[in-house]
Symmetry: C2
Subunit: 129 residues, 2 copies
DNA sequence: TTAAAAATAATAATAATTATCAATATTAAT
DNA sequence: ATTAATATTGATAATTATTATTATTTTTAA
């Protein structure tokens, strides 16, 4: 089997994500991590983001607009996505686990979780007009 | 301004979507609509799906795995996405509008809506093992 | 019937991501 | 410490999903 080996690039990617709370894209990770590793390849960034997500060490957030976002905060929480600037912002909202049971009532399959994205206009964009 | 003109292709695309409840991708729409319009272009399918979504006549569903899905049922409802077969299934769950207010409590921006996707194993995939 | 404008089919281009592979780095065993 | 095995990398090609371009066709209003 594939046993995991340490890599400095992977550590740097994870540490970079932990230093941010704005849910950067793979490309943003790439351009920033290049300051420390000028020769790092975009493929290496994608590979490690994907691996870290599979390991459960980071979260992948699909916004449906532009590339996927990544988040080092792995405990279940909710995101707001601004309709104007597309920024992704953490929300202070306790987990709504009861809605899994509500959704299960008339459903034959097995629901184990949910993701919710809230939409609207963020504070910055509201101030602009 | 751009005034809308009728097109047989657009009508056929909308009617095809209304005949289905499995939230097909643009490519699935394309291969099916080709039975009626053998020369239709994939670009035409994308253009019309996008236009219909902008007009609010259909919904675009981003699943984060594979291409976007489309749904002729435009009233707010919830979807289940199977972790195994990736099928998208409508859920019978009343709208959880109160969670918009809950999410707004400690948030500076303006929340106008949300989308929730439930995850797990669908009935078919559960039966398989 | 004609003319203007929108829509189309065909195709090229783009964005985001994944795959390939020879060279390098890590790790476990000597 | 040295070696051997193998995971990881950087470079790059390929793929997937989607959008843009443009000459031709269709729709619609005059």
């Amino acid at each position: 089997m594939q046993t995991l080996k340490y890599s400095r690039q992977r550590e740097a990617i994870k540490e970079f994500l932990m230093s941010r709370n704005d849910h950067p894209t793979a490309d943003t990770v790439y351009t920033n991590i290049r300051q420390e590793f000028p020769n790092i390849s975009l493929g290496t960034v994608y590979r490690n983001l994907s691996l870290l997500a599979d390991l459960g060490e980071i979260l992948k957030i699909s916004t449906g607009d532009g590339g996927d976002r990544f988040d080092a905060n792995t405990k279940h929480h909710y995101h707001f996505i601004c309709n104007e600037c597309n920024s992704v912002i953490d929300l202070d909202l306790k987990s709504l686990d009861h809605i899994n049971e509500l959704a299960s009532v008339n459903f034959g399959g097995n629901i184990i979780g949910h993701t919710t994205h809230f939409y609207g206009t963020c504070e910055n964009c509201t101030k602009k007009h």
